[in-house]
């Protein structure tokens, strides 16, 4: 499902060259739940951004869902992300001006889906994370755990094959974190491939396998 071969990511400015990823190889099977661990600044988020097509690798090859992603235009990348990928961010990134339902609908706005069908799918995803009673609330009216569950609903509303989670429990207490992890596990049981960046070894133990990074290299 996810195949990285000799992937590099180098950030260059006029004077400085920073190697964020170096010769990273990774193979994730369909339906696997993989965690990525490592100290701050080791390249975990960069790796996730590369897999999520938010950042282009400086070298190497990347294959997602059987498609080798090379020389894709911005439009094609956007279309691929919309169809195949779901994102969960540490700081939720919900749009404060929109209700829970409107936030969850966002990925569907960029597909050919009617308004009523969009709303039906959004409510179904919200129900999936146990927030049906909050569909008309605004993010500011929800707890951190609830906001992250909304973010998960948004990530799964388009039924993506791959879910990418960047420290999804990083801003939550342990109980809320467990709740979020339970949802991710149940999604994984339905064969969604999940790659999760985490600092929490306890959560990493609950995944199928853990990839460890140090200074941009795999060390596991």
């Amino acid at each position: 499902m996810i195949q990285l071969e000799n992937v590099e990511k180098v950030y260059r400015t006029d004077r400085i060259e920073t190697v964020a990823l170096e010769d990273v190889n990774l193979h994730v099977e369909r339906g696997q739940f993989v965690s990525i661990m490592g100290p701050s600044g080791c390249g975990k988020s960069t790796l996730l951004n590369v897999i999520g097509l938010l950042d282009a690798p400086s070298g190497g090859t990347l294959t997602l869902a059987g498609e080798e992603i090379a020389n894709y235009s911005d439009r094609k990348l956007a279309s691929f992300r919309n169809a195949k990928l779901g994102f969960i961010f540490q700081s939720f990134h919900l749009v404060p001006d929109l209700t829970v339902a409107d936030n969850v609908e966002i990925p569907l706005l960029y597909r050919r889906v009617s308004g009523s069908e969009r709303r039906r799918m959004a409510l179904e995803a919200i129900d999936r994370v146990g927030l049906s009673s909050r569909a008309r609330h605004f993010p500011g009216q929800l707890s951190g755990g609830q906001q992250q569950r909304v973010a998960i609903a948004r990530a799964i509303v388009g039924r993506p094959e791959i879910l990418l989670a960047d420290e999804p429990t990083g801003n939550l207490d342990s109980q809320m974190g467990d709740e979020v992890m339970n949802i991710l596990e149940s999604l994984n049981e339905e064969s969604t491939t999940i790659v999760m960046v985490t600092h929490d070894a306890r959560l990493a133990e609950r995944t199928d396998r853990t990839v460890r990074l140090f200074d941009g290299r795999r060390v596991d």
């Binding site: 951004n49 999520g52 938010l54 950042d55 911005d74 439009r75 956007a78 279309s79 992300r81 919309n82 169809a83 994102f87 961010f89 990134h93 749009v95 404060p96 001006d97 929109l98 209700t99 409107d102 966002i106 990925p107 706005l109 960029y110 597909r111 308004g115 969009r118 605004f138 948004r154 388009g158």
Partner: protein, 417 residues
């Protein structure tokens, strides 16, 4: 598009302060534009009774110029009678006097009325709407008959709902027989305005016939065709230069012109002297100054809107990052913000229209401007809305385009540059 419209309305409803400030700016600008154009339109555009403006010019001012001074006033009667009434090749010429405020008494009640003294031709050049009777004629004028035309409001004050035709009114100690009643004319139509119109020859004193310099008369000249205007203007210039100034030596020359009311206004405002000094026709200079003021007036709120939009959109970098992550293209993002702006502009325009109608209604009914009947000029309003939409699009496109180009990772971090 429907989803974008709904989204725009939700965002605007949530961001109340920004929405209020933007709507205030847009609607206030449109209201001022509407009020100014309504007044300008009322003063200068073709409206009854001035329905023949395209063929009519006037002599509205007379200047006597000395070495170190100018005396500005209206022309004297004898100049108009001898030099303007005798212009060759014109259809009609009317001489009339600027209206005067006079007191009238009726059933022990004092009233302030404006009386305008005119000749009989006045009624043939201007197209008053008579609700009773007819105007007095040149024969009435020449014979000095004490006949008068009054407006509807004056009829109501004197006679209530009853007809006025043939009845008498006493104004400023003179008694007139009412021969006609016309619809009210607002004071902004300076030339035809009055409450009561009577022959010049009924003036209490005939001294005006002997006034040699300036007075408070004016003349209307109705040409056979607008093509005659240059010839007539040149002829008036020629006749003015040949007319002796007379009187004390202090005066060196007369200056007057056959012109439109706007040209007369431009000559009497500072644009007149400035235009003479710069060699630019005063109406052109005044028109240019007014256009510049209008543009500046529109540009300031537009720039403010651009600035507001820029900061509003840039603070939504994180949202843009999320939308990009979920597949929004640059075009879709730009479209989203532009739709928000256009929706905002249209709401502002609707509020502006409603406030303009309310403000004009208030002015019309307040009595501050006698007989005012200002209306919204829908053509100007249409242009105003169109300009506002253009500003809305332009002010939305730049910040939206800028933020749509952001790298999604940077946008997710909330970085706007």
């Amino acid at each position: 598009m429907k989803a974008q419209l709904q989204l725009a309305l939700r965002v605007l409803a949530r961001r109340k302060f920004f929405t209020f400030i933007s709507l205030f700016g847009i609607s206030f600008t449109l209201v001022v534009l509407m009020l100014v154009t309504a007044i300008v339109d009322h003063v200068f555009a073709t409206h009854p009774p001035e329905t023949r403006l395209e063929r009519t010019l006037g002599v509205y001012r007379m200047e006597l110029i000395g070495k170190d001074f100018r005396r500005r006033s209206g022309p004297n009667w004898s100049f108009l009678d001898q030099q303007i009434r005798t212009l060759p090749g014109v259809e009609r010429v009317s001489i009339f006097r600027v209206q005067h405020g006079v007191d009238a008494y009726h059933q022990g009640r004092k009233m302030k009325l404006y009386i305008k003294r005119t000749d009989g031709e006045f009624w043939k050049i201007l197209d008053f709407r008579f609700v009773e009777g007819a105007p007095y004629t040149s024969a009435d004028h020449d014979a000095g008959r004490f006949v008068a035309v009054i407006n509807e409001s004056t009829r109501e004050r004197f006679f209530g709902d009853a007809p006025a035709l043939g009845r008498s009114i006493t104004i400023d100690g003179q008694t007139f027989r009412v021969v006609g009643v016309v619809e009210d004319v607002p004071i902004t139509r300076v030339i035809p305005f009055g409450d009561v119109w009577a022959p010049i020859t009924t003036a209490k004193s005939q001294a005006y016939r002997f006034e040699q310099y300036t007075d408070d008369f004016m003349a209307l000249v109705m040409a056979k065709s607008p093509a005659d205007f240059p010839r007539l203007k040149a002829e008036v210039q020629r006749r003015t230069s040949l007319t002796p100034v007379g009187g004390p030596d202090d005066f060196e020359r007369r200056n007057t012109a056959l012109e439109t009311p706007f040209e007369a206004l431009a000559s009497q405002l500072p644009s007149g002297e400035l235009g003479e000094r710069l060699g630019i026709a005063p109406p052109l200079l005044l028109g240019g100054m007014l256009a510049l003021m209008a543009i500046l007036f529109m540009i300031l709120p537009a720039m403010n809107l651009v600035n507001l939009n820029l900061s509003r959109i840039l603070e939504r970098a994180s949202e843009v990052g999320v939308r990009k992550a979920y597949g929004a293209s640059k075009r879709q993002l730009v479209m989203q913000f532009v739709v928000e702006n256009v929706v905002l502009t249209l709401i502002g325009a609707a509020i502006g229209l409603a406030l303009s109608v309310a403000a004009l209604h208030l002015i019309n009914t307040s009595g501050a401007i006698p007989y005012a009947d200002f209306g919204v000029n829908l053509r100007i309003f249409g242009w105003g809305v169109l300009m506002a939409i253009v500003f809305g699009v332009v002010s939305g496109v730049f910040p939206a385009w800028r933020i749509a180009r952001l790298h999604p990772v940077l946008a997710l971090k909330g970085e706007s540059r």
